[in-house]
Each structure stands twice: as C-alpha cells, then as structure tokens.
Symmetry: D2
Subunit: 361 residues, 4 copies
C-alpha cells in the first residue's frame, strides 16, 4: 500500500486538525495510508510517528490544536544532538529522507508558516524531498494566500471578548483597551475592531499620535458617549515609532516586566483624557478553541487539495486560496515575507467612513 | 440638513442592523441625517419612521434581526387599503415619493432580496425613486453577489447543531438527519455538511437515490463507524424528483401535516438500513442571533458603500461583494434568479474527495 | 491490581464523560484500574469493554455524549439472544456476575436513569452485584436528587435557541413557538422560558386554555409589543387534557404524521389571534454538545463520590445532590417515579409575578 | 400611581439588567411605576434618573452590564461637591430622601455588594430610607447568600478560555498559566479549574510551595502528559505569603509594572521545571457578556422577591439565595465580610480526589 506523510510545525492555530483529517480522508478514499510525524520536523528526524487511519482521524474536525503536536524550532539541517554530554548541531537532512524511504512514504505534506516553508525548501534542495506545503498562521499575514485558516476563529474569539468589554465599558463609563495578536501586521486588530465596534484601532502599519486618540475619546464624551473601546495590535509601535519590548528589569529581584503596547496605550489615554482606563491582553486564547465553520471549510479544502496533489505526484507546490479558489503555486515562486494592512486599503477606508480613529489624523 | 432614508424588507437575517448602523454612521460623519422606515415599504407608504441618529444606532452592531422591522408582502404599487369595509389594492407609489419629499429625503437605501429589488425597480420607473439596493438573503443564493451577509452566521448555527447531534449519534449508534434551510439552493446544507463532518449531504441540485445513501451508511457500519450524520436542504426533491409540500390532510380534524423532506429521508434510511434514525428540523433558529464577525464585517462594508454612493448621488445601483471587493452594479444590469450549487463545483468536489455521499453514485 | 467497572445506560446527556473521567481519576489516584463496559448492560453481558486509564480519559471532560456508548433496551435478566434462527429472551444475569469476576472487578458503577436503576437492583437481588448508581437524565425529573447533570446544558442550548427566535419574532411581529423536551415534567420548558424571556410557558403539569393564551398575546399587541414568544414542553397535554401522539396516518402512502403539541399550539394561536405564527421543535440538539461548567462540576463531584464509595466497599448506594452536598442514598430507599413541577412552586410563582402566562388564568 | 426606585452600584456583573427587568415587570403587573437612578447613589443625590416602563425594559434580560450605569465611589453621606473651585465632601443624605419624596417614590431597591449595603444602612439610619438590598458580586464571596448572580457566567467565560488554552498547551507541550479574578476568595479559580480540567489550582486560601507545583508538573511529564494547565486566583499570595502589588517602578520613564501573581507563578514554574510556560490574565472579560441561563434565573428570582417585598412595604431586608430558596434577611442581621473557600470543603476535596494539586502537599 502506498503512503503519504504529514506534519505540522510552527505556532498552533485552529484548523490544523481539519487539514490533517482532510488529507487522511482523501488518501483513504484512494486506498493510500497516511503517516503523521510528531512535533514538526523533529518527528521526521527522530522517526516519531503515528498512523492516521479512519480510527485516528474520527472526531478531529472540530478539535483545536494539532493531534500531531507542533514545534517551531527544529530544522533537520541544523539539528541539536547530544554528543559527549554536549549539545552540538548536525545536518540530519539525509536522516529525514531515509526515514521516509524506510516507511515507504512517497511524499510529505508540511503544514506551517514561512519558517516551515524555508526548512522544507532546504530539504527539497539537499535531499530531493517530495513535498507539498499548506500555509498556516493565525495572523493572516502571508503574501502567498488570500486568507489563512485560524484567522476567522481568532477574530471570532477576539470579537467575543470585545463584545464583553463593551458592556463593562458602558456600565462604568470607562475606556477599555484590548491588546490583540499581530506582531508585524494588524489584521486581527483591524477585523476585530470593525466587527466589535471599536472606536479606535491601532496597528503596526499606521503611526499614531496619542493626542489624536485622546481627542476622539473626548469628542465622544462630549456627544454623550461616556465610554470608548480601543483595540491595539501587539506589534503597534510607540508614538515615537519604537517597538515595545517586554523584558525584566535586570537588576531587580522583584517580578518586573515592561508592559506591552496595550499597557502604554492605556496609560497615555488615562493621562491625556483623565478617564479611567483598563487594559486587557487577550493572549494565547486567540490560538485556541474549535475552528469556526469558515476555518473548517478552508482547512478542509486545503487539505483535500494538498492530498490530491500528492496523490498525483505533483510535488513542490504550496496550496493557496486565491480569489475564492484553491490553487497550486510552485514553491520556488511563492512570495515570502509579511503581507501587511494597506493604510488605504478597503477595510481601513470602511473603518474611517464610520468614524473609527486610527490615531493618525 | 440633508437626509437619507433606509428600510429593510423580506425575511430577516443576522447583519441587517449592522448595515443600518453603517449607513447611519457614514451619513453622520458627513453631516447627514438618516430616516428609517418601519416594516419595509409599508412604512414608506404609511410614513411610519424613526430617526437613526448616534443614540438610536448605539449597540446595534451585534444585535440580530432588524431594529426597523421587516415585511415581505408590501408592494406600494399594489398596496392593500380598506375602502368601504373591504380590502382593495391601490397603486400608492406616488405616496412613497411624496413622503420622501416631505421628509426632505434625497434618496433611499433598500435592504432586501430579489423581491425587494423588483419592487424598488418598479418605483424607480414609476416615480423616479432615487435608490440604492443592499442584497440580503440567508440562503446565499443571489447571483449578483459572491456572498450575502447572514449566511456565515446561519452556517455557524447549523454547524453548532450538527456538532451537538454528532455526540448523540455516536453514543447511541444512530443515524441523525438534520434538515436545514435552502428552498432552491443547497448552500447552507453543503457548507454545514462540510464544516460539521456530515457523511451524507442531500441538496436540491443533485438527484439522490435512497439505496445509494443506505449503502454509504451500511459501509460505514461495516468499517466500525456505527453512526452516521445526514444533512438535508429543505428544498431537496424526493427520490422521484418531486417537491415535498407540507400541508394538512384536508378531511381530518386531527393536527396532521405532511412531514418535510427530512422526515422522508429519515424514514427511507431507517427502512433500508434497519438502523434507528432521528430527524431534527432546525428551522427559524438559523435566521436568528448575533451576526458572526464575518457577517458584521461584510454588512458594515456594504452599508458604508451604500451610504457613500447615496451621499455622492450615485443612485440606481446595487452594492455587491465580488472577488473580495465591494462594487456598485447598476440595478438594470443585475442578474436575478437563483444562484444554485454546481454539482461539479469546488465545494462539492472537495466533499466527494473526503468520501461525503450526495446520494447520486 | 484492584479494579472497578463502569457503564452508561439510557438516553445520552452532557456530562456522562465527566462522570466516567472522575471515576477513573479517583481510582487511578488510589492505584485502582477501571474497566468500561460498552453500550450499557449489553457490554456487561457480552464482555465488551475497554480499559479507562489516564490515556483513555484524557480530554474527556469537555466532550458531550459518552465514550462508552449507551443503550436503553438491554436488561440482562431478559436479554435477547439468537437461538435456531429466532430471537428468544434469556436471563443472563449470572453471565454479568461471571464477567465481572473473570475481569477481577470488585464493583460496578452504573450511570443511568430510573430504568437503569431498576435493572441494577434486579442484578443486586439475583446475583449479588456490588453496585453504585449515578442518576442521569436531561429532564431533571428524578425525585432522588435535587438536580441532574445535563439539565443546565440543555437549558443553555434551549435558551440560546429562544434568544435567536426572539430577534426573528421581533423583526417580523410574529408569534414564535418553541417545543422543548420534557415528556412528563416541564422543567426544561420552565427554566428556558424564564431564562429566555418567554411570554407564555405551557407544561404538562398545568392545564391550559387556548383562549387565555390568545388573550395574553393580544394584550401584548395592544400595548405595542407586536410579537410573542411561547415555550411548550413536548409532554404538554392538549386543551382537552389528552396526550398528542405522533403517528403516521395508517392508510396513506404519503409521509404523514401527526404534528406534536408545538404544532397544535401554533395552529390554535394563529386561529384565535390571527397573528402569523411559526413553530420550531428543538429536538435532539438539547442532548448534545459540551457540558456547561455547572454540569461538569456536578458530574465530577458525583463521579468522585461514586468512585470513593466503591473504593471503600460501600456498595448498594445511589449518589445524589441534596441541598448543595453530595450524599449517598441506599438504593432500596431511593424514591422512584417522576419529580414534576409544582404549579405553586417558587419558579412558577416568580414567572407569574413578571407576567408570564401559563394558560390557566 | 405608586412608585419604586432602583439603582445599581459597585463593579458590574452579568445579571444586573435581569434584576432591573424583574423588578420593573413585577411592579408593572401590580400597577406600580419604577424609577431608575443612574450610576449608583450618585444618581439618587443628583436626581439623575430614567423611567423603567415596559418599553425601557424590553430586551434587557440577555444583556450584560447595567442599563442604569454603576459607580463604586459615591456615598451620599460623604459626597464630593465643588465649592469655590475646590472639591469638598458634604453629607447629602437628606438630598436623597428629598429626591425620593419629590418623585413620589415609596422605597428603593439597591443592587450592590458589601460597600453598597453599608451605604444603604447608613441612609436607613440617617434619613429613614426605606430600602431592599439585592446582593451582587462576580466573586461569589458574600456570606449572606449561597450564590451570587454573575458568578456562573464568569466561570463559563473562564472555563471557555481554559478549554482554549488546553489545545495550545497540548500542541506545544507547554505549561499554560491562567490568572483569574478573586482578590480575597478563590471561588472563580476553583470552579474554573474543576470545570476546565486544570492540573494545578492556586487560591488565596491555601499557601503553596512552588516545589510542590513543579513536582506535580514533572510527574505528569514522566507519565507522558507533556503539558500542564495551571489556574491562579489574582489574590493568591506569593510562596512567602505576601500579596503581589502591581505598581510602576517609581524612578523609571519606561512603562514598567510589577507582574501579577500569574506572572510570578509562570516564572517560578519555568525556572523549576525547565518547561516553556505562558501566562494569560483574563481580566475584565470575566465581568462581561450575556448572563448564563442560571444567572438570568437567579437574578430574575431575586428581582421578583425584592419587588414583592417592596410592594408589600417590607423594607429593611436583603434578598438571598439559601438552600435553593429565595429568602428575606433583615439587613441588620446580614453577615458581612468575605466568604472564603474552605481548604477542606467539598469542592477542594473533590479536586484533590482526582489529583488536582493545590501546591500544599
């Protein structure tokens, strides 16, 4: 019986299990078996795997996380091994190829982000790995695909949180600041702000002035809207254009850390408006939970497409959503880097039209 | 001060309030006022309205339904009025035009489906109404736009129901049948079936054979999967190709009605497989509830676009989502009718690839 | 190593898995193993089981249904077996005892309702079974315990549905009728009606007059509340005091069935008020889904108590929630039958105080 | 027409609107009107109010927060007023009494926590206020009532967050720490930990040793459970028995603050186990959102009871839930202070039985 392998690497996000299930079901329909490596490329190096038959993939669709585990540090070509009591780094790329051959695996499907794609390309080059990539990031900031699975679920979780903060803000006449994920791109903050009725949205792509934000909040107050809700992407720069780094104060035994950008935004607003302000950092909750129907659908379609490409022997591709259809894009033509929010893009323009403030005017 | 008017007609769906709010906010930003007619065109005839200022639209975004009320029967050109104790039908189109003029309204935004658009066109022709249409249907079956708001929320509600039925099906080794909305197109059933892990999906667009469905369920059983989950669109035809009409048995005083297609599917499955089968009809719950972030976003963008077109005096258009952007489509070029599921479309093909049965093979 | 056994029987409901997990964890902490019989007492007769170690119970807490499967028809003392091509009934009680002994099991924990408790008592009497019972029913109508797990989750699901129907009712100025579970007691309907803001609640315990219901709805209309929401328990009697039985019309080839009580209530309201009325039957969805925190907590506490009783050899008890504490009640002192809603109980009185109509005044 | 007044004070929590609605509906049924003061006792001093008729209370039941606004700083007997450009404090208790009399109000219902009850008592003493108190706190730590509304909703929100963190913890083999509300009592943390399957629960009532926590986590790892989930109440003391105070570092221009106890717990775990650990502080989200059915029910019953007491002229009472029934407790017999978790109480014992670690053994 012929076999495919699959692994998931990088940060987890809702929908990975749906991809795994779709690959396994597509293969099963054609009489192929699927091998799942544990913990990203680490499992491929260490030959740590499980079989993904109908039994193992039953009930996977609605489950968050990844049943294979994930890891975002292991690169087979620079793999840490213990030798003589010390950890040294070795190129174990060939070991991956050998493991695949020993398991009788025809090709590998790798679910991951930019880093995983880079590692996969290296393996293609070095040991002729036959691979298909499935793009994955909660942040929706990959230039290769119009939308990544997991993003819709993250926005749902964040919007739900914003809805909850609204009732408190309104009852207490406060400013509530919600810091969301998005280290280099403001997609989650932008979509959540629009969906959750934020008054101010701050994102890495737009420089902001605390006086502009304060003016917006005070204008609302003057019109009888005694509360305001502010959404901030974690990668938003300070008004001076610097990145806020969270770190401990070195010469202190107390548990001290720099507050993130959300904390800074809250303090500046309170200082400039005199209105009581509270900050919430949503954090890892955005990565968790059962994927939304949209993400289950997208992940399933990507998994089917990846499985079919592999079964047809069309390796060396990434599967991507482009203008509503799933397409195969040759890995060497895939654009890398970050897809950022355009300050004059349609979502920002729509937000400005209904009076949402980005701090820049 | 200049004014716009807005109304919502046809069946309600999540996101109408988000459109209303976006129009009102867009207008408010430019210094215009917005008048909301109650209960579709009925309010425009009877001059029944409320002002939609910042106070009235506060908190509207997450709320289901429509704060303006809706109505799916009133056509101003064929409007029922009581005269001498009898209801007669009159053409009151001019009365709509007069009411708009008296209120100093420059133009009207009408949120509705195919029927509402047809009525709007008649008013444009008869009395020169200046109007913008915003497409709306839970069923996602309008050919003029790639997706309608409300659909994502309906699929979420239906998928949540399917997830719940799964646990019961699995615990009792039963077949669970879920009948969903979709009188002429199977979009809700198709997306829910894929998102909720259905084993069988029956839709109006694909003729089905109960023996094929039974075989699928028995094959699952033979492989140790002792339960199955079946999703049926309400407009799915009988195996003989007929539409199931729900009606009372005429010569009976008992409360008798024909079961819908879900009931028939359940009975045929039980008969042909011998496996205990239960039927659930989700019904109106699919129309209700707070819109999903996706629908809030789409509805907001449509509302902004409609508001901006009106403010610029570009009447006679429908706003539509096409390939990810919001576009203005001249009302006389808008395709009408039903956008059905293509049996060889990408979603159906993906479903078949993972072994979902449509009853036709 | 010492061993306990566990099984679940009767209709499924959210929280069974939480009981199973709590028993397994309690036993594991004390160094015992747990054997799970599949499909209620059927697995105990046929020796069909799985081990419930830490691996198998990981992740069970939030999952609906029962990982052991359930069955509500098998009584070991009257068990169907095939002999000479015919199904005959045999007393296989001794086989259950033998299986337990062969597996080295010290005692059995049976999760189930009244029927399961009756079967368990028979086995105690006939073959000296050492057993603990954990009460279970979605309907919350057992006299032996103040509340059953699964009920809170069912009310949450039903209230969510009622919230959704509210927005549609309000937008369309309709009467929406929601039929909920509760064949002999109206607990789910009563709690959902109060939690979801129903205007009328009809339950088996209170005789109702359609004219009283119609008057309530028309009074609301007269006060400007153009819609109403009605909740009906499935076991509510007709105005004539009869039970509505769903059956096919015998001499018909069409798929005909009697509508349930919800259908009848809807038709009577429409007839007597002239207001458009829609009926939704929520059905099996009420049994499904992840248990609410309340139910997870209650189920966990019951599972711990059952496990500890078994580990201490205190068999012959039922574990019950009484006035906030978990108590052991000797099985021969357990009250059976149905705990119905008292028409003058505190919940009904609270409902009447805020103007909810029960159709009787 | 006779009148009641109502106000809400202290921190907001889900269910306040349900109390307000129940009072208004109960009064309306008896032909009384209800006046709502805005922002706690501040509105009673400043005569800032709205009428709470059927129109105003429609749709309130499922809404979080309080439609009256709240305030947790104003005591009429020590009220800040501006005189000659300076803020001075005056005793305006008589002004409250005068406002009530001028509005023709017979008595006042005050929804709030310990602080609100203390203020209310002062007003009873000083100016003979006729008042009923409704206990309210998200923390469930009032000794006067068995459970407070809002608590069940907070636990639901927190459990949902914990469920989400579980999938990430499992996929990444990490320790996830979730800090929850509970400054003086660990109820939210305890119930969430039990409902969400935490491995470790740290609360103010139980002193903990980081080595015990680390040992628990390492034991799990040794058994193949590569991740752990830890819940911490915000008021949990440091291992040295001190309270963690969040403050800025005084001589720094950087945005520095002390991490809360969650941060400290995470750092100690990472230090002692070497396992990657992530901390999430859920914060204000716990106060928000639509109340759960349980809380809507409890709040409704309390509101009805308060309304009926007032209508019968039985002032000077608090309404409380005791052993499943709503009771009137004379305000001068109400126990104040904090109801803490008993370290040997049934919930903690159940948690220990399934192996949950409290850090103390």
């Amino acid at each position: 019986m012929s076999r495919l392998a699959i692994l998931s690497a990088g940060g987890d996000c809702p929908g990975i299990n749906a991809v795994i299930r779709a690959v396994a079901k597509t293969a099963d329909q054609r009489g192929w078996e699927v091998v799942g490596f544990r913990n990203g490329y680490r499992g491929a190096v260490e030959n740590d795997f499980l079989m993904l038959g109908p039994e193992e993939t039953a009930g996977l669709l609605p489950r968050g996380g990844t049943v294979l585990g994930t890891d975002n540090r292991y690169d087979p070509s620079d793999f840490p091994v213990e030798e003589d009591g010390r950890v040294v780094r070795r190129d174990l790329s060939q070991q991956v190829a050998d493991n695949l051959q020993r398991l009788d695996v025809q090709g590998l499907i790798a679910i991951g982000g930019d880093g995983t794609m880079a590692v996969t390309r290296k393996l293609i080059e070095k040991v002729g790995l036959k691979a298909i990539c499935v793009p994955k990031t909660i942040d929706n900031d990959l230039p290769s695909t119009d939308q990544t699975f997991g993003f819709d679920t993250a926005v749902r979780t964040a919007t739900d949180a914003l809805d909850k903060l609204h009732t408190t803000a309104e009852s207490h006449h406060r400013v509530m600041v919600l810091e969301l994920m998005g280290r280099y791109a403001g997609w989650i903050a932008l979509y959540t702000g629009l969906s959750g009725g934020a008054d101010v949205i701050l994102i890495p792509e737009i420089r902001w002035d605390p006086d502009v934000v304060a003016r917006k909040i005070l204008e609302r107050r003057a019109r009888g809207r005694l509360f305001s809700v502010v959404v901030v992407a974690e990668g938003t720069l300070t008004p001076e254009g610097e990145r806020v780094v969270q770190r401990r104060v070195p010469d202190s035994h107390e548990q001290i850390r720099l507050g993130g950008i959300g904390q800074l935004v809250g303090e500046l607003i309170e200082e400039k408006t005199g209105i009581e302000t509270r900050v919430t950092i949503l954090g890892h909750i955005q990565r968790g939970g059962s994927p939304s129907p949209y993400d289950r659908m997208l992940a399933t379609r990507l998994g089917v497409a990846a499985g079919e490409l592999a079964l047809e022997g069309r390796y060396g591709n990434l599967v991507a959503l482009r203008q509503g259809t799933i397409q195969a894009v040759p890995l060497d033509q895939v654009e890398t880097g970050i897809r950022t929010v355009r300050p004059d893009g349609p979502e920002v323009e729509a937000a400005r039209a209904i009076g949402i403030c980005f701090g820049d005017r």
